[in-house]
Symmetry: C4
Subunit: 211 residues, 4 copies
């Protein structure tokens, strides 16, 4: 018989890491006091920092939605799920670093390309680990809660897997056209949120009458 | 039938983001070691940082109270509620940046006005997204928990909507009188907390006797 | 009939703020790279930062234990409890700033006294708000869960109130003997943890046999 | 009769501290803008920061897994468990400081040894407090949930105790061969995660059919 972990505390810990990684991103946005002479211009001049903030925020938000979708379908986690989940959290908590680097470097002819590619690889690692998380569950149905259908399992596979390909493509694009790739990263993040779907059969909490 | 999200984990994740955004604000307060010669004066000299801390803390606190009020009335969330909630969290987690900027710039004749207006716009975006969150719920009663009355729905609308107008006015005022506008931002935050109301029908947890 | 707030989400949000405030303290500890020549000495040389870390960590830990003790005895919170709780969180989340200041200034003849007194006042504000929180509950027994006895109410008063006096005394002492006062702050924090007591009647979760 | 603390809120608070300590680690990774000329090289040049990030992340992750394993077997906590838990959290939240120091110093002939030993001692303190936590529980079986067997108790002792010896050895090794010791710290962290085991008898939440 397999080793089991109740999912409640893992969700709470993961939510904490997601929430902090998503919130730390703002620490990297700053206007130097030397630019206060023309502050409106200086605020607009920080656009790469905003782009990085929005992209990483929505990327992590999309991962959180998918994570939510995965864990609410689990009956329990096994050792492998716990380990992949830790690796996923390690990759997500790492994102503020490449985000900051890309925002700083996007105006430097020398550094732009490397920073965007590095950011893309970091996003790709997150997407791959998220896909692996659901892949492990999809292959071992005993982990799933009783009511989960094959259609739901495949649906989630179809929503987590393609991002891997998208990020491979966008990162490759970043070698030639870094700024276009930055836009594609944002587009993938927006898509991952727009495509996230709630559950048709989620039970309403507690005392629901015949609604 | 609509897609549904159970609210528990969304509340936990949102609480995490609120708690972190509210706590990061303190990182922006510092006295330079060069001012240690007359530390009491230097501590008082940081008043704009304290004003920013208190204003943003109470603003986020007020948003949290309203968020609490909204989510405890939900039976479940739909995709749209989840998306608006993510945008609201993105706006709230952004606040430490304009807060810091306003605190730094309030003593600079050049930058004061732009910084206060930028801060006001950021607060306005938060208020608008909070209003949109409840607006979506108010228009789709199937999202509401069974016992929620029309009076409660309108009551919450009356407590979330006016802030939008207040912030428009205060931000416009900031163009002419930045320091007065800073005071108004604080007043709006205090008001949002003083006007927050618990629920008259909240069930006490567990073993309540005939109270 | 009074307005009521369920306590679960307030506890979660408060835990988030406590956890972050307690964890941010470490960001203020650093050894400058210029001191790497004699690193063992440089690490020891940071003792004021460690003292500040331990003092503020245990202080916040003690406040958390008391907060835990208060909220587990509540049937629900009213508007006033929610507001005092927000003020308490605002004071606790502020602590990293005076902590850092005291650690930096303790070796400066000019600044030491002011920094220690400022730190003491910040601790006093936290203790006063914690006392006010329980004071409000103690005066309005309808907020209390059914089984809570008068003995428990007075017991908690006796554990939260004296700190206020201790901090007044220690802060006054800081005017004359700053370093001694710093030691007293630590002693008060240790005491608050040593004196924290669990509940004799807490129900064990779930399936407890006749233990 | 003993004082008791319900475990739910302690788990939530501990998860918050673990999640933040684990996430703050990324703030210490940065590439100076002066290195943008050859960014790919500069990114690789930061390898000590990545090594520190991964080591501390996995160490804290392993502590979290063990903490999870301990608390899910508790019927309730007593005062001593609460105090050791606070000390454990204080040690874990301290880790970002020695991690950063070790990553900065590993390329400095002067500082390398002291930094690695200091890091090892910090890890040792965490391991010792984790062992003490389970040791207290193992000696007082009345704290344990009803179904917990002696085999489980000994199994957890065997998984938490040896790390203490490992860290003593690795730290001593750091006096002679700092870089080798850094690798051993990472190996211990990986081991602690690979050896973490779920529970064979964890009840699946809610409506499990005869699986």
């Amino acid at each position: 018989m397999e080793n089991r972990w109740a999912t409640g505390r893992t969700e709470a810990f993961s939510d904490g890491v997601f929430a902090i990684a998503i919130t730390l991103l703002v620490l990297d946005i700053a206007v130097p006091e030397s630019a206060f002479e023309n502050l409106p211009h200086a605020i607009l001049h920080e656009w790469p920092a905003y782009l990085g903030y929005v992209t990483s925020f929505l990327t992590i938000g999309g991962i959180w939605l998918a994570h939510h979708g995965i864990f609410r379908r689990l009956r329990y986690a096994n050792d492998r799920v716990m380990r992949i989940n830790l690796l996923l959290l390690m990759a997500v908590a790492f994102l503020p670093y490449p985000t900051r680097l890309a925002a700083q470097a996007i105006r430097s002819a020398d550094a732009e390309r490397a920073a965007i590619v590095f950011y893309g690889i970091s996003l790709l690692v997150c997407a791959t680990l998220l896909g692996a998380l659901w892949g492990v569950v999809a292959r071992d149905r005993s982990l799933l809660a009783p009511g989960v259908t094959d259609a739901e399992v495949n649906d989630l596979l179809l929503r987590t897997t393609p991002s891997i390909g998208f990020y491979v493509g966008a990162t490759a694009l970043g070698l030639a056209l870094p700024r276009v790739a930055a836009g594609v990263y944002l587009a993938i993040a927006v898509l991952s949120i727009v495509r996230a779907r709630g559950d048709r059969s989620v039970a309403a909490p507690a005392e629901e009458p015949a609604a």
